[in-house]
């Protein structure tokens, strides 16, 4: 049965409402909470002219609803201010940094799925054994570990002490020049594959693997635990029990019938973990000098580049809202009960 159009439209309207809400709250935080917003927007050590200019740009001499109107207008037309550090429009900077972050987070989720699901199945089959305990501990540790500290420690051991993996950046610059690599989508792994440039691909893979592993730790534990819980429930249901009674081998029951039932809840829980994971990615980017949004935001924070900081926060919130929408729609496609 195809998924109903009304559900998708309803979900998209909700998405617009959420983005609107994000804009309103950001307005309150940036314009209403601080007593002198122009100081935040004029950069570090502003001159009198800069302050005057910021005050004019923010329309601080006008009533608050006029400010809100122009704020929303700017927000919608992509006029998110100019970064004090790079002297570029904030939106342009963010567009340049976005692919690096998305590539990193996508790989982290892929790792979480391809390790987490089999691990969860294993735990369900070997219930109440050591493996089961281990997965419980991995899951809880993943939610308890300061991700930037884990990144620091692993970087120290694997890069500085053992020298196995590179410690920073997405790819070694000299290989880019030597092999005449061209950016197409901004995803280096994808672009190098399209161009058949294996040298760049391997180099980029070596760079991305450690940060991606660090970020995947949290969603990996979650997906393993969710798979385990659903698997145990499914294996106890009558329809799987009757399959066993018919004499189907356990392997077939698990992989052909039971696994299908675990996919919807696992996607659901990964969707829920996305917000936490992307924040983790931001912090990890700072450690690995990964040129994504997190690194951009952290550099902006250090140099009091307020428009850039707020731009990054709004971007992350919008990505979060979009991912939630996609997950909900996917959920509805896989699990018909949600559509109601």
């Amino acid at each position: 049965m195809p998924i109903s159009k009304e559900y998708i439209i309803k979900r998209l309207i909700l998405l617009i409402a959420v983005v609107f809400g994000v804009a309103i709250i950001t307005f309150i935080i940036t314009r209403v909470v601080p007593s002198h917003p122009e100081f935040l927007w004029a950069g570090a050590h502003p001159t009198k002219e800069q302050l005057e200019k910021a005050r004019r740009e923010l329309r601080l001499d006008q009533p608050i609803y006029v400010q809100l109107y122009y704020y929303l207008l700017d927000f919608l037309t992509g006029n998110w201010g100019v970064s004090w550090r790079t002297r570029q429009p904030v939106l342009k900077d963010i567009q340049a940094a976005l692919p690096a972050t998305l590539e990193l987070v996508s790989l982290a989720f892929i790792i979480a799925l391809i390790i987490g699901i089999p691990l969860g199945i294993l735990a369900a089959l070997k219930r109440n054994t050591r493996i089961d305990d281990l997965i419980r501990i991995v899951t809880i540790t993943g939610a308890s570990i300061p991700v930037f500290w884990l990144a620091l420690v692993l970087q120290l051991i694997l890069s500085s002490w053992l020298g196995i993996l590179p410690s920073a950046k997405r790819v070694d610059e000299y290989i880019i020049y030597e092999t005449k690599f061209k950016e197409i989508t901004g995803f280096i792994l994808l672009d190098s594959l399209i161009q058949g440039n294996l040298q760049v691909f391997m180099n980029a893979l070596k760079h991305i693997i450690l940060p991606a592993l660090v970020i995947s730790f949290y969603p990996l534990g979650l997906s393993a635990r969710m798979t385990r819980a659903v698997m145990i429930d499914v294996l106890n249901e009558f329809h799987t029990k009757s399959l066993a009674a018919w004499g189907l081998p356990k392997r077939v029951i698990i992989y052909k019938y039971a696994l299908k039932n675990t996919i919807a809840p696992v996607i659901g829980v990964l969707g829920l973990s996305f917000g936490y994971t992307i924040i983790g990615a931001f912090l990890v980017e700072v450690i690995f000098v990964w040129p994504g949004i997190g690194y951009y935001a952290a550099s902006a924070l250090i140099s009091y580049d307020y428009p850039a900081v707020i731009g990054c926060i709004v971007t992350a919130a919008i990505i979060y809202a979009i991912i939630n929408t996609i997950v909900d729609i996917l959920h509805a496609i896989i699990d018909p009960r949600v559509r109601i």
Binding site: I140, F148, I278, L301
Partner: protein, 293 residues
């Protein structure tokens, strides 16, 4: 009923090794957090008011179990005192979030109608932000400092409690005893705070202390971005960040504070996991039956 809950929970804690470990860690953290200033081997180092350059970058030894930092300060003392600041932040964030969230959930649930709807939509707007992101925005606006950190985190936190209370109030307010209270002419305020609130608080009372682990973790994240407390306050996240610059020379400066965060948050989460299982009705029944036999 409430006593029974506690008894079952303790039974569950005793029955599993991991939750026992969690319980001990949390207890230890609370204890150290309270007595920290009185047990410091090097109090001046801990508060960050002294420095002896000749003692800088000493590796872990018997005198300095966690080594010394670039100012020659004892890292162990700083980590111990850090427990106090983490405890203050955790209690502050959860407490302030409760003060904001519980009344909003209560009013939204009891009054209902358009006001309740509006309050819950506002709550939803806050939930549109990924965790920590709103706190980053607020902290960037308010500036550094212990109080600002607590405020920034609490404002991104209260929505969870508002929702929990809202759901609970909705199921309690239709019970006959509330109708009875209304019939004998008690005022809305009395009914709300004296009769509904106590019965709607249980899930929040269980949840809130366990959230302290997450509050510590998020505060550390803020400090790492340069938004948390001011140096030289020995907050654990800040200690990790301070040691970052010299990590290749002296790994211990960053390592031990981070380990302290991991162990403490792990303790809270292990305990939370046990209590979540305790609220699973199937498991409860088994335990209760066992006790009666």
């Amino acid at each position: 009923m409430f006593l029974e809950d506690i008894r079952v929970t303790f039974k569950l804690i005793k029955s599993s090794l991991t939750s026992m470990i969690g319980f001990i860690i949390v207890l230890g953290f609370l204890l150290i957090g309270i007595i920290a200033p009185y047990i410091l081997p090097y109090p001046e180092d801990a508060w960050g008011v002294s420095y002896n350059i000749e003692k800088s970058f000493l590796p872990p030894s018997i005198e300095h179990p966690f080594g010394t930092d670039e100012m020659g300060r004892d890292v162990f003392s700083r980590v111990i005192l850090g427990a106090r600041f983490s405890l203050i932040i955790a209690v502050g964030v959860v407490g302030l979030a409760l003060i904001i969230g519980v009344p909003i959930g209560l009013i939204a649930g009891y009054v209902g109608g358009k006001i309740g709807e509006a309050l819950m939509r506002i709550t939803d707007m806050f939930l549109a932000f990924p965790p920590l992101l709103l706190a980053i925005a607020l902290a960037a606006t308010l500036g550094r400092g212990l109080l600002n950190t607590v405020i920034a985190l609490a404002i991104s936190w209260w929505t969870w409690y508002a929702r929990l209370v809202y759901i609970q109030v909705n199921s309690v307010k239709t019970l006959p005893y509330v109708d009875a209270a209304r019939v004998i002419g008690l005022s809305s305020l009395t009914i709300m705070f004296r009769h509904i609130l106590p019965n709607a608080l249980t899930p929040v009372v269980v949840q809130a202390p366990l959230d302290m682990g997450s509050a510590i973790l998020e505060a550390a994240g803020l400090s790492f971005l340069g938004l948390g407390v001011n140096p030289p306050t020995p907050e654990w996240g800040l200690l990790v960040t301070e040691g970052w610059a010299s990590i290749n020379r002296a790994w211990w400066i960053s390592f031990f504070p981070g380990l302290a965060i991991l162990v403490t948050v792990l303790g809270f989460n292990l305990l939370a996991d046990a209590i979540r299982e305790a609220s699973d009705p199937r498991l409860r029944r088994i335990l209760l039956v066992e006790r009666r036999v």
